[in-house]
């Protein structure tokens, strides 16, 4: 049984939707960040697979940049998280409603 591009894309889609479930369902900010990592990784799989099956390195390049972005996002995001925690003593999403319309 040959494993084709579609298999990888399907896997990527499944992981992406798992990530979305996490994003929508998590109320703890830290765990929400973890869910976003899942989203980024699922996309990385798709990039790598496409790169492999089309014989083109561009996909891998994008995967590198995604990793770089993820790293900086974590750095800044965790910094903000810590500031928030110092101020309010929790990191619960439901308490963050200062942008109420």
């Amino acid at each position: 049984m040959e494993i084709g591009l579609n298999h990888y894309l399907a896997l990527s889609a499944i992981l992406f939707s798992i990530g979305l479930v996490g994003v929508m369902r998590r109320k703890n900010l830290l765990l929400l960040f973890l869910a976003t990592e899942i989203l980024l990784n699922s996309v990385n799989i798709a990039f790598a697979a496409i790169s492999h099956y089309y014989g083109d390195l561009t996909g891998q390049m994008f995967a590198f940049f995604v990793i770089a972005i993820a790293a900086s996002e974590v750095a800044v995001g965790l910094g903000l998280l810590i500031v928030w925690h110092k101020r309010h003593g929790n990191i619960d999403l439901d308490t963050m409603s200062t942008m109420r319309g």
């Binding site: 040959e2 990592e37 891998q60 390049m61």
Partner: protein
């Protein structure tokens, strides 16, 4: 055959790890599951022949990023169960499945026409790392440098945000002020 077995095995493992990560009540479990999931994903990269990417995945994600999360978690009470009240879980599930379906439709039913030509084709006879280096330092040099600056900025931002008393500048203070500050800190430690 080997490839298929490996794919299904790691697919199963990744999905289950990530599933645990988004459903568990324990923050520590979630973190461990994610770290494991990242490792399993690197396996896909190795299967796909992207050795360098797999290595980076292990080092950066499973190593650095997860370590960062672990450090971040130390600030918070991780032993406590994360209490989360959930709204309508059907909406969450429905939307996610819909997204997955649409993505699959877009890619699997090839709506995008097939005439994609390789922009930077893989060079015969060169290792993956060598190829990546060649492309990264020629065609993607500018984005690469920009990404480097971005990481630097993120680092500075992380330090400034998380650090203590970052609004004080020793170079702008005179001797007396610095001495006072030191004394105060020492008092705190002693008491």
């Amino acid at each position: 055959m080997f490839e298929a077995i490996a794919f299904y095995l790691f697919a199963f493992l990744t999905i289950s790890m990530f599933y645990i990560a988004v459903t568990t009540q324990q923050a520590l479990y979630a973190l461990s599951a994610i770290a494991a999931g990242m490792l399993f994903i690197s396996a896909f990269f190795f299967i796909l022949g992207a050795d360098f990417l797999g290595a980076v995945q292990i080092i950066v994600y499973s190593g650095a990023v997860m370590a960062l999360y672990a450090f971040g978690m130390m600030f918070f009470d991780t032993t406590r169960e994360v209490k989360e009240k959930h709204g309508n879980s059907m909406i969450v599930l429905g939307l996610s499945v819909l997204v997955a379906f649409l993505v699959v439709v877009i890619f699997a039913v090839p709506l995008v026409s097939g005439n994609i030509t390789a922009l930077y084709p893989i060079v015969e006879g060169a290792g993956n790392t060598q190829e990546v280096g060649m492309v990264l330092f020629t065609k993607y040099l500018v984005p690469f440098e920009v990404a480097a600056i971005m990481l630097l900025v993120a680092m500075v931002a992380g330090i400034v945000l998380a650090g203590k008393k970052m609004d004080l500048s020793l170079t702008l203070m005179n001797e007396a002020q610095i001495r006072d500050m030191r004394d105060e800190e020492n008092k705190k430690v002693l008491s």
